[in-house]
């Protein structure tokens, strides 16, 4: 959090504002007569966690995964499928979410990381589609209609009950903060140094004695697990999980959030998720044809605001 210390930096100020909104939401929004926004914020925070995990491999590692939403699904179905079979223990569900995400990320990463550039993007996309179709064909678990989850994850103690909205909300908030801290530590560590160097000049990293593949793979697995945890939270929030949550447009949206906020900045994914989802929520209220505005808007962002929000705000502070 010391990264935010300099609040005169506009990007930092904006981030602090967003975090403040999240922190105070459950108190302030009902007072403003808009209690629904509390759920909206919780949703955004879940996406933000997923975006933070993607930023780890994409922003800092240079691995553009177009299949990252699949881990949201894995985490979500861990909750859904276990609950379906009567296992409501949060510990069991979380363990499965983490285990499944790690296993899938390991296999998918091992395959995809043998390729670079566009091949990598396409392969991550295709592999994620595989899991998507697996979900669609799983008739027992609702296939594309999805699966309703009748009870939230039960972690045991009476004082920690995810059925209580506030408890769930602040759990998500805590996980979000934790994910940012973990991400920051990873990036600044020896591991992160290898990852960032490999993004910049992979040949040179190998020429100083580091076999970069295993580091990339590890990062890929860590990001998958982090996203799986986000999926776990999402399933609890929505009491629902469906294959749509791991479809490739979701992965595309995740990439957008990361780019929008500012790739390879610590809080970029958080502000990116916030802006992306607030804009799309607002636009979708105006018209059901909101994609016709949103699509070109995305194109314009890519063309003219490549450094994302952080880039835009920092440029303003440098000039003004």
């Amino acid at each position: 959090m010391s990264a935010l210390a300099n609040l005169r930096n506009p990007a930092n100020a904006f981030t602090a504002l967003v975090l403040l909104v999240f922190a105070t939401g459950p108190f302030v929004m009902p007072l403003l007569g808009e209690p629904f926004y509390v759920i909206v914020f919780a949703r955004i925070m879940v996406w933000a966690i997923a975006a933070v995990s993607l930023n780890l491999i994409m922003g800092y590692g240079g691995m553009i995964s177009f299949g990252h939403a699949v881990y949201l699904g894995l985490g979500g179905y861990a909750v859904g499928i276990l609950a379906f079979h009567g296992v409501t223990s949060g510990w069991a569900q979380l363990a499965v979410a983490v285990g499944a995400s790690a296993a899938v990320a390991l296999v998918f990463g091992a395959i995809s990381l043998r390729t670079r550039g566009v091949y990598f993007i396409m392969i991550t996309l295709a592999l994620a589609q595989m899991i998507y179709f697996l979900g669609v064909s799983a008739e027992q678990y609702g296939s594309d209609d999805g699966l309703n989850i009748l009870s939230r994850s039960d972690f045991g103690p009476a004082f920690y009950d995810l059925n209580d909205q506030a408890t769930l909300y602040y759990t998500v908030f805590a996980v979000l903060l934790a994910s940012v801290v973990v991400s920051g530590r990873l990036v600044g560590s020896r591991f992160g140094a290898v990852l960032r160097a490999a993004k910049s000049n992979d040949t040179r990293v190998q020429a100083v004695g580091v076999a970069t593949y295993r580091y990339r793979l590890t990062a890929f697995v860590i990001a998958g697990v982090m996203c799986g945890i986000a999926g776990f939270l999402q399933a609890n929030l929505e009491s629902f999980v469906s294959p749509d949550m791991m479809s490739w447009p979701r992965s595309g949206e995740l990439i957008f959030m990361v780019v929008l906020g500012g790739m390879s900045t610590l809080f970029g994914p958080v502000t990116g998720a916030f802006v992306f989802l607030m804009v799309s929520d607002t636009l979708s209220e105006w018209t059901i044809h909101w994609h016709i505005i949103f699509g070109p808007l995305l194109v314009l962002v890519v063309l003219f605001a490549r450094g994302g929000i952080a880039g835009l705000l920092n440029r303003k502070s440098a000039n003004g």
Binding site: I121, M122, I123, L134, V259, H289, L298
Partner: protein, 308 residues
């Protein structure tokens, strides 16, 4: 096993492969020559279906619709290339992925606005409807045979175009060294527009000819697109020959897998397991194939020889 079903499904797979080839050929040309990752290629598939379908309904003739679709898609493709895509050539692949992703959203919504959410039904003319005996006691739909024939004709046409004509030579020159070709006087922007236009026509053709079977629907391009990407990754980016082989193989394996995998699984698994694993595995089959091929040849079967 019933040889009739086997052959039928093989032909169905071949036909799917043809559709995939039409998509993949355009995609691989655009990527191989212009180094442009275009996710909105699927939208061209959809636009061809809707625009061509509408032309067919307006003129009352499916054949006329197909013929008119060609110049229509050429124009549409070139317009899209000149307005939206030109700025992307200089950008990195991530930017291209994101920008064209935004375009997909736009095109899907625009289609919904113009034609409504229900999609479009394009009926077949009577003489193309119906089945014919193709020997070995098998009757097969005439139209699917037509699709295969059209696809093979296009494949041959592309082969001649790229390999034997002046424009093909320019395309190959642009592919292997864009800067040099430009320095030698080749009008690169015009070449790119033409290549993109060709890709658009191919995609539109694929979309239109599949419409009598599947109907024109919003978002129809996206699923085909992903398979097309799998095809060009397997086949090797920039290689039309690779796209053809990979497309046919993909189509056949996917179709026959869906039909026969559960039967095959029954050899190893109890009936219950085979029944539930079958559909799940068969939809994953083609991706497993892709993963396997990439494991041994990360650049695909016919990798590009030397970069720009």
């Amino acid at each position: 096993m019933d040889h009739v079903l086997l052959i039928e499904q093989f032909l169905n797979g071949f036909q799917l492969g043809i559709i995939l080839f039409l998509m993949a050929a355009g995609l691989t040309l655009v990527f191989g020559i212009m180094d442009l990752v275009n996710l909105a290629h699927g939208s061209l598939f959809m636009i061809g279906a809707f625009v061509g379908g509408t032309l067919a309904l307006l003129t009352g003739s499916f054949i006329l619709g197909v013929i008119l679709m060609i110049p229509a898609m050429l124009v549409i493709g070139i317009v899209i290339e000149m307005t939206a895509l030109r700025t992307l050539y200089a950008r990195d692949h991530l930017d291209q992925v994101l920008a064209t992703f935004g375009l997909i959203l736009f095109f899907n919504e625009a289609t919904r606005l113009i034609w409504g959410p229900e999609g479009l039904v394009v009926p077949l003319p009577a003489f193309l409807d119906g089945s014919v005996e193709i020997g070995l006691g098998i009757t097969y739909p005439v139209y699917r045979i037509v699709i295969i024939a059209v696809g093979l004709a296009v494949a041959l046409g592309l082969y001649i175009l790229v390999g034997r004509t002046r424009i093909g030579m320019l395309i190959r020159a642009g592919a292997s060294n864009r800067t040099m070709a430009g320095a030698l006087g080749v009008n690169i922007p015009k070449l790119f527009s033409i290549v993109f236009g060709i890709g658009a026509v191919l995609a539109g053709l694929a979309g239109l000819i599949i419409t009598p079977i599947t109907q024109a629907q919003i978002g129809m391009g996206e699923d085909v697109l992903i398979l097309a990407f799998v095809v060009i990754v397997i086949g090797g980016i920039g290689s039309i020959r690779g796209a053809f082989i990979a497309a046919i193989v993909t189509g056949v394996i996917d179709t026959m897998g869906r039909s026969f995998l559960d039967v095959l699984l029954l050899l190893f698994l109890p009936a219950n397991a085979a029944e539930s694993a079958g559909p799940a595995l068969s939809s994953m089959l083609i991706y497993i194939l892709m993963a396997a091929i990439l494991f041994f040849r990360p650049q695909g079967l016919f990798p590009p020889k030397g970069a720009q």
